[in-house]
């Protein structure tokens, strides 16, 4: 791990805090789901925290972001309130979507979160549209679209890159390549190793980052966003990472080689890597790091209490917000 730019200690600790918050949110939500307390289905982003936090740290609250079914981490990284997130997972009225969206549809207008999405690649054109809007309104906002390696096989991905290219839109397409599309390993669903090569077909720039190395992701995103704000057109970023759990909580992931998850967990744990970096460089000591984990554990359990104590939505809520 390498940091070539000046980052204040406070910022470092903030990044690590967010990564811990994501990990703990996912771990605890998973546990509650398996106990039958959380309905629907859940997709955990454990193992991909560096991508979420590294990218979102490089954009502002005014910038737009859209994500996928595996979106909890991105929402937390963009500043999401874990109380309202957890309440949404519980289907409670205090949740971001008043219990009508659930895990796969969390959105937050004030934070520029255009929404998680149940449709693979569904968010990519929407983000592109937000970038078009920013450009037409003459703001310097950028839009970030998170999606997976699997999503890059959808027409929506290709059409979005093409239109963003010809319109020169300030959109950062962030492919979190965790090497699986549900049960299908990357080598079986696309004949390429780097999704980033697909940028060439649309004559746009691309950048590949180690999605387990937050410093790599963060610095590369800063550079990319600077380009976007200059009006130089869209960029495809690929963060190589790994999802530690199955595709959804409860999926035993029998389609993966047995040692593969262990290998990533042992050698490429984004949180362990970053904590190690902070200690080696004497930016923080183990006490400080432990305090962060403790604080975030408490924060998530408080969120669980918040969700548990919140009300179910009134039945009339079901009938509201239908356009027609």
């Amino acid at each position: 791990m390498e940091c070539k730019i000046k980052i204040e200690k406070g910022k470092h600790l903030e990044l690590l805090t967010l990564m811990n918050r994501i990990r703990l949110f996912e771990q605890i939500a998973e546990e509650l789901f398996l106990h039958g307390e959380v309905p629907g289905f859940l997709h955990s982003s454990i193992g991909q925290e560096a991508s979420a936090v590294g990218v979102c740290a490089a954009i502002g609250i005014d910038d737009y972001m859209a994500t996928t079914h595996r979106g909890h981490g991105h929402v937390v990284a963009k500043g999401g309130d874990v109380n309202r997130m957890m309440a949404e997972l519980y289907g409670k009225v205090t949740g971001y979507c008043r219990g009508k969206g659930g895990s796969m549809h969390i959105s937050c207008r004030e934070l520029g979160i255009l929404g998680a999405n149940g449709i693979v690649a569904g968010g990519i054109p929407i983000t592109t549209g937000a970038a078009l809007s920013a450009k037409m309104r003459g703001t310097d906002q950028v839009a970030v679209s998170f999606f997976g390696d699997g999503a890059s096989d959808e027409g929506a991905f290709h059409e979005s890159l093409n239109i963003a290219s010809i319109y020169k839109l300030p959109v950062l397409f962030v492919c979190e390549n965790n090497h699986y599309a549900e049960s299908n390993p990357q080598a079986k669903h696309q004949n390429i190793k780097d999704v980033a090569v697909r940028a060439k077909a649309y004559n746009i720039d691309s950048v590949i980052a180690d999605g387990t190395d937050i410093m790599d992701v963060y610095q590369k995103t800063l550079t990319a966003v600077e380009q976007l704000r200059k009006g130089n057109g869209p960029i495809l970023m690929e963060n190589k990472c790994y999802r530690w759990s199955g595709h959804y909580v409860g999926d035993p992931a029998v389609y993966r080689p047995k040692d593969e998850p262990l290998e990533w967990k042992t050698n490429r744990d984004p949180i362990k890597l970053y904590a190690g970096f902070l200690m080696e460089n004497k930016i923080a000591d183990s006490k400080e790091l432990e305090a962060i984990t403790e604080q975030e554990t408490k924060r998530i359990w408080d969120a669980v209490e918040f969700a548990r104590n919140s009300d179910d939505p009134d039945l009339t809520v079901a009938m509201e917000d239908v356009y027609a």
Partner: protein
């Protein structure tokens, strides 16, 4: 000898027997290969038996899944494509609506498109707005598509075989809450033809026409109503295109009261079509206006309390039948 088996196993048995029967048949879809065996595990074990050539994983590319199935069907193969959720048909709608449905017609009868699109729909698992719709009316509205909606394991197996053997495209709508339900399935080869309704319960006072999982709700309601001395006949059309109108009308001629129940939203739902058909053909038989029980006109909400609220319940059906009789 009939055996008891799940809806899931019955579907798998149909696929397996058809794969053995006809070499032109192959399966394609997302995550259908072993060891995963499909999100709802319908295709589990089939790759091991038939190989990756005939049980093919696809990328997440619904346009290609449906379009490739069509191209293969037009040129001598008999594909069975799987869309993991009916909601993803949204991504594939050009191929389904503009290509698959119209190919024989547009070509003046030159080409056939013997393909099946298997998918599953429905609520009940808090899957929310993009994973729980019931879209049969959308398909049924497009001339050229057959639409099957089996509820029992027996029907599921027999109708899937009929769909695969059919020379035309069939949209085969399973229901996500039915996969673990069980029922009797014969050991020997059989087919349940599309367009043949099934009277799932005989009665004399009211006819309920219900589809897919709502057949089970209607049967539960009929059981409750029987205790009050009300005799309900439950008719399952099994496929809404083609539709066995006569079985429905025959029932109506006996009961003179009709209710239609479906899980899709009420507005422009299939129930409206049935009402219109009854007006056209059997108006004089009606002793009361036809009653529709269907989901409320909203996207499917996530919270279990809300999901339950928008979807028809057994109690609603019971109350509706009583209304029909006053």
């Amino acid at each position: 000898m009939p055996r008891s088996m799940t809806y899931r196993d019955a579907l798998r048995e149909a696929l397996r027997e058809e794969l053995i029967r006809d070499e032109r048949i192959f399966l394609l879809g997302e995550d259908i290969e072993d060891p995963f065996g499909g999100t709802y595990k319908v295709t589990q074990g089939l790759t091991e038996e038939f190989g990756h050539d005939r049980v093919r994983n696809t990328p997440i590319s619904e346009i290609a899944i449906t379009g490739v199935a069509l191209g293969a069907a037009m040129t001598g193969m008999r594909p069975v494509a799987e869309l993991m959720y009916v909601d993803f048909a949204g991504c594939a709608m050009d191929q389904i609506m503009n290509q698959i449905a119209k190919m024989r017609y547009m070509s003046g009868g030159q080409v056939e498109a013997p393909l099946v699109i298997r998918t599953q729909q429905g609520t009940g698992r808090s899957s929310a707005a993009q994973h729980a719709q019931s879209l049969e009316a959308m398909f049924a509205h497009i001339p050229g598509l057959k639409v099957a909606m089996p509820v029992t394991p027996y029907d599921a197996k027999g109708m899937l075989k009929a769909a695969i053997r059919d020379p035309d495209p069939v949209i085969f709508l399973e229901h996500k809450l039915l996969y673990n339900t069980t029922g009797e399935v014969p050991e020997e080869d059989y087919v349940v033809p599309l367009g043949v309704a099934d009277v799932k319960r005989v009665g004399t006072d009211v006819t309920i026409v219900a589809t897919s999982r709502m057949v089970l709700h209607a049967l539960d309601a009929a059981e409750i109503l029987a205790k009050d001395g009300i005799s309900v006949e439950v008719v399952d059309p099994r496929s809404i295109v083609p539709l066995d109108q006569e079985t429905i009308f025959d029932s109506l001629r006996k009961t003179h009261r009709l209710m239609v129940v479906h899980e899709a939203v009420e507005r422009n739902g299939w129930g409206a079509e049935l009402c219109a058909l009854v007006m056209d053909h059997c108006f004089d038989e009606l002793d009361a206006p036809v009653k529709r029980i269907a989901s409320k006109n909203t996207p499917v909400p996530f919270a279990p309390v809300l999901e339950n609220f928008v979807v028809p319940s057994v109690e609603e059906i019971v109350a509706g039948v009583k209304d029909l009789l006053v």
